[in-house]
């Protein structure tokens, strides 16, 4: 069917939609809403996936932990020199970190010790924390926290400091030196950074021990050999590669996409029900209209063209409105209600600042699941009616 754009036919289609007033508006509203729901869920899911894959590149190539009787134990710093001697290892960094359970709020804070002597620490902190005074941070026991931690501490009347309870039952008072930039909220929300010696004191760790050791390796082809060497040197070690993390993320997405699919199917079934309702036949009024058009000399293809215009007006407008609304909902309003599906029941909910990424593939999926299906639902019954004789249709 050759379609040449015809403004008169467009005006006729607009008039026809206007004549059916409420019905047209309701169809437009329903189609927009279902497309909006599909688009919002897919945008959030895609943004989270993108965020994780973006951050995974910044992770260390290898993380070495110590196991004893199948349990994770602290690793001795004596291993550092041996690890650095392995050919291909660029840096070996001991890390001190863990979880601090805050009874009052029932949440786990992630506490990370930082090496204040590392030349990059100051630079990194100044990038991520506004108006940060590094000298003051080093001079007194201080911490830098995520937005969520700051909120929880404020709710519990800790405005400028927090009293950690050490393993020996003493208080370790730590001042609040700064809060991480809200843009890092999805990563930093529950985190507390403070000098390693304070973390060791709180967790009761030996000065010659660390939680784990991370290795930075320049050439990724050497990773397998380095793993073999570390395993031979320290048989009780557990080695986690960046690649293993990537694989595990993939399995998480496979599982999560199952949940999305379930939600998505609900939308799709609702949508198909509307389509079925339309496809099961035109209303008597619409049939009468087709009959009159045939009686005054319109051919089948003219009627189909007109119906095509009608369907396109509704489908394309609804699609555009839905995408605009979904982007506004997810990025400006931070997806109220829907974000709860992703963040669960956590007390320490992060602000939902998702990365903005336009994925053509995702937009195509939304488009093909809404526009062509609706257009087919309008055109097929019209074609069925238009092929009948005019008097038969009007009778």
């Amino acid at each position: 069917m050759h379609i040449k754009f015809n403004t008169y036919l467009l005006a006729y289609a607009l008039n026809a939609l206007y004549r059916r007033g409420f019905k047209s508006f309701f169809t437009f509203l329903m189609l927009s809403f279902i497309t909006f729901l599909m688009a919002s869920i897919l945008i959030i899911a895609h943004a989270i996936k993108y965020e994780l894959s973006l951050t995974i590149d910044a992770l260390p190539e290898l993380t070495i932990q110590n196991l004893q009787a199948g349990r994770h134990q602290n690793i001795s710093l004596e291993h550092l020199d041996t690890l650095l001697d392995i050919h291909g290892v660029q840096r070996a960094i001991p890390r001190v970190w863990g979880f601090y359970y805050f009874d009052n709020a029932g949440v786990n804070f992630s506490v990370m010790g930082i090496d204040t002597f590392d030349h990059q620490t100051k630079e990194h902190l100044e990038t991520m924390v506004t108006a940060f005074d590094f000298e003051a941070f080093v001079a007194t026991p201080s911490m830098v926290v995520g937005k969520g931690v700051q909120r929880i501490l404020n709710e519990n009347y800790y405005k400028d400091y927090f009293n950690f309870i050490t393993t020996e039952g003493n208080f370790q008072k730590v001042s609040l030196a700064g809060v991480f930039d809200a843009r890092t909220s999805l990563e930093s929300n529950d985190m507390i950074f403070m000098p390693q010696e304070i973390v060791r004191n709180i967790f009761g760790m030996h000065p010659q021990e660390a939680t784990d050791i991370v290795l930075r390796i320049a050439n990724k082809d050497e990773i397998a050999t380095i793993i073999t060497k570390v395993k031979a040197l320290y048989p009780s070690s557990r080695i986690i590669t960046k690649e293993a993390m990537r694989v595990s993320y993939q399995s998480i997405f496979d599982y999560k996409s199952g949940i999305f699919l379930a939600l998505f199917l609900v939308c799709l079934v609702t949508f198909l029900m509307i389509v079925y309702d339309r496809a099961s036949g035109l209303s008597s009024e619409e049939k009468k209209e087709v009959g009159i058009l045939k009686a005054v000399g319109w051919q089948i293809n003219d009627i189909l063209k007109e119906k095509f215009y009608e369907a396109s007006i509704i489908a394309f407008s609804a699609f555009l409105c839905a995408i605009i609304a979904a982007l506004f909902f997810v990025y400006t309003l931070q997806a109220p209600l829907l974000r709860d599906i992703f963040t669960g029941y956590s007390v320490l909910k992060p602000t939902f600042v998702l990365p903005f990424v336009v994925d053509i593939q995702m937009l195509s999926v939304i488009f093909f699941l809404s526009v062509p299906i609706y257009m087919a639902a309008v055109l097929i019954p019209s074609w069925k009616t238009a092929t009948l004789d005019a008097d038969e249709v009007m009778r």
Partner: protein, 101 residues
């Protein structure tokens, strides 16, 4: 008669323009987010997003839990061996799966 068509086309183009402007603004607004997030992960060296922090669900399970990557997490039900950390690929000996091939 044509006025309606022109009004509709104008409205439709308005929608396209709104969408383009919205995408452009969001792109500008979020342009510097990626670098600061990367800096943060580079600094902390820890994975995962800060989404679940309840008593039962600690973060960084891949590092914090010995036996499985996401044990008892709200995101994933365990099923061996794909979500388990221990697998035989680190050693030069082939795994049972590799041997089968």
């Amino acid at each position: 008669m044509k006025t309606q068509s022109i009004t509709f086309i104008a409205l439709f183009l308005g929608l396209i323009l709104t969408l383009s402007l919205q995408m452009f603004t969001l792109n500008q607004q979020f342009a510097d987010h990626q670098s600061i997030k990367r800096t943060f992960v580079l600094f902390s060296g820890l994975p995962d997003l800060s989404i679940a922090n309840e008593a039962l669900f600690v973060r960084f399970r891949s590092y914090a839990d010995t036996f499985s990557l996401f044990s008892n997490g709200p995101e994933l039900l365990e099923y061996a061996p794909s979500t388990f950390t221990y697998h035989p690929a680190y050693t030069p000996n082939p795994s049972r799966i590799e041997r089968a091939h």
